[in-house]
Amino acid sequence: MQKNINHKIQETFDSLEGMEKASVNPFFFTRLEARMNNEKNVWGRVSSFFARPVIAFACICFVIMVNTAVIFSAEKSDTGGIRQNQEIATVDEYSQVSSNLFEFVNTQP
């Protein structure tokens, strides 16, 4: 068995004997030129930059952060508005009460 394995290993090492070098596709230069021309194009470069997964993921995170910030700031300004309305309501209530009191005092015989 061991002899068999050693023989198989040697056969495997010898399998590359006489191997020829691989040749590239005959249209390799044409494809290379086309790719280089595409990369030269500004939009091609920009789109390939944003198509990178890391960049796309970072842009999505940025958009989510901006949206979250906008939502939080909107909530804060809404709370301020409610307080303002409450103040106006309180002022109105007091002004009615004070006018009623004035009338009450002055209409007493």
Binding site: I9, T12, F13, D14, S15, L16, G18, K21, L32
Partner: protein, 191 residues
Amino acid sequence: MNERELIDLLKKKDRTAFKTIVQTWQNMVYNTALGLLQNTEDAEDTAQDVFMQVYDSIATFKEESKLSTWIYRITVSKSLDLIRKKKRKKRFAFVQSLYGKNDELAIDPPDFFHPGVKMENKENSAVLFKAVKRLPPNQQTAFVLNKTEGLSYNEIGEIMNLSGSAVDALLQRAKKNLQTSLHEYYEQTLK
């Protein structure tokens, strides 16, 4: 056109000089990338990347070595970068499979049959290339440059910035590791 003239013209971004360089070394680049990457599409993409880098970076070529040596270095560097990138992708492949997308086959395709290997040796060479894939990058590079490109130890040393004796030591370690891998493989399969 000799090499010096080609380099001078390429530095001026002469397209004819660039075409000559591509046509002279395209098979060398492709064959080296194919030996390291063991995938024809990846090897072609990497070969394109190599020549694009040659075109863009020719101004940085100091002419301390031959142009072919410089091109070999870029090829090896780009191929090893792609191997590292694929290994990182493989580490996250389990996340993709949770969502029903199994890209493992695309990331790690089955047996590689080098187009230059004789028909009767294809099966054995596929086993050997699988074992070569598991070697450390330096040993893998030295082995591929020696066996598929037929480079001498000194030529490999120029590309890898090593002495001839260092390359010899590297190849000895590669052979030992391959023997161990193949022994384990055949022990399993010949049982």
